[in-house]
């Protein structure tokens, strides 16, 4: 059977009477599985000679569907917990990075590097400022920068 040609009445009767060879049967079924028009014709043809489905088939289908929904629900639950974990990791990483940047900025504002900060702080009493003061000053300067930036944006 040509894939582009729709199935004929002869094909349908050949199928019904089991007179198709295996290749013809496969080609016939493949066409039906892809063509809406032919699958409709096939369904109408098959409706003339129906077999009663097993009595418990419907309940078995509904049970199977519920089971699948349950599994799907569990997978969703796990993925929600995973999302929360990833989100917590991101927040943690962002906080650490922000703190690190804050310290580095403060050090660069005071003209010190990591190497000489402790040395200077030890030797020079004027420079011996507590770290909390440095962080607070740094945060103030960042806040001022953000306020300036947002004022410019509003203008």
């Amino acid at each position: 059977m040509n894939d582009k040609v729709h199935i004929s009445k002869t094909d349908l009767y050949a199928f019904k009477n089991n007179s198709m060879d295996p290749e013809e049967l496969m080609s016939f079924l493949e066409h039906i599985s892809e063509c809406t028009y032919c699958s409709d014709q096939f369904a109408v043809f098959m409706s003339d000679d129906l077999v009663s489905a097993p009595v418990d088939m419907k309940s078995n289908i509904l049970k199977a569907v519920r089971r699948e929904q349950l599994i799907k629900g569990k997978v969703k639950d796990v993925s929600k917990r995973m999302q929360l974990f990833i989100y917590s990791l991101k927040v943690g990483a962002a906080t650490s990075l922000a703190l690190l940047m804050l310290i580095l900025m403060t050090l660069s504002n005071t003209g010190m590097t990591d190497d000489n900060f402790y040395e200077v702080a030890k030797n020079d009493p004027v420079q011996n400022v507590p770290i909390t003061t440095i962080i607070r000053d740094g945060m103030d300067s960042i806040c001022n920068d953000i306020i300036d930036f947002s004022s410019k944006m509003i203008k």
Partner: protein, 170 residues
């Protein structure tokens, strides 16, 4: 159900409507293709489960053709996988040539299915034979079988389960 109304009913109700309306058709298609009562039951169930998974994207038009396509695909996969194509024997071939166009009134497929089911059930050993004949062939419920035979309902259900496994293997 009216075609316009189908679009507005909820998914679960619509799905049950599909099963109620087309379970015989889907089962018949599967049975005709694979020629095995219990394999056909499995394939028909797979068809409806697959239909449920794709129900959200289905436009609820041409539902008969849609289910028929899914069922045919399932059967094709089964045939390709197991290479259990139902090739007619020479005797069967000439027998079928005689009545090339059976009338719609003749319910040939139903008798074929019932005959095959009866043969399969009768091949089982007692007590599974009696249970299988009552439950699968005569379509008596587990509770009725329990009442009829005086067995415990749980025992009957277990025997039905085992009988089904044996019938699938046969």
């Amino acid at each position: 159900m009216q075609e316009r109304g189908r679009k507005y009913i909820n998914k679960e109700t619509y799905y049950e409507h599909l099963i109620d309306t087309y379970q015989n058709l889907v089962f018949s298609i599967c049975f005709k293709i694979v020629n095995d009562y219990f394999e056909a039951e499995d394939l028909a169930q797979e068809t409806f489960i697959s239909a449920y998974k794709h129900l959200d994207t289905f436009d609820r038009q041409h539902e008969k053709a849609w289910l028929c396509k899914i069922a045919t695909n399932k059967c094709l996969d089964y045939l390709k996988k197991s290479e259990r194509k139902s090739i007619p024997t020479e005797d069967e071939y000439f027998l079928t040539q005689v009545n090339k166009e059976p009338s719609p009134e003749e319910n040939i497929l139903e008798s074929e299915a019932k005959k095959q089911l009866s043969e399969k059930c009768n091949r089982l050993k007692s007590p599974y034979r009696e249970i299988a004949l009552d439950y699968f062939y005569n379509e008596i419920s587990a509770a009725e079988i329990a009442a009829k035979t005086g067995k415990n309902l749980k025992t009957v259900q277990t025997q039905i389960y085992r009988a089904r496994l044996l019938l699938k293997k046969s």
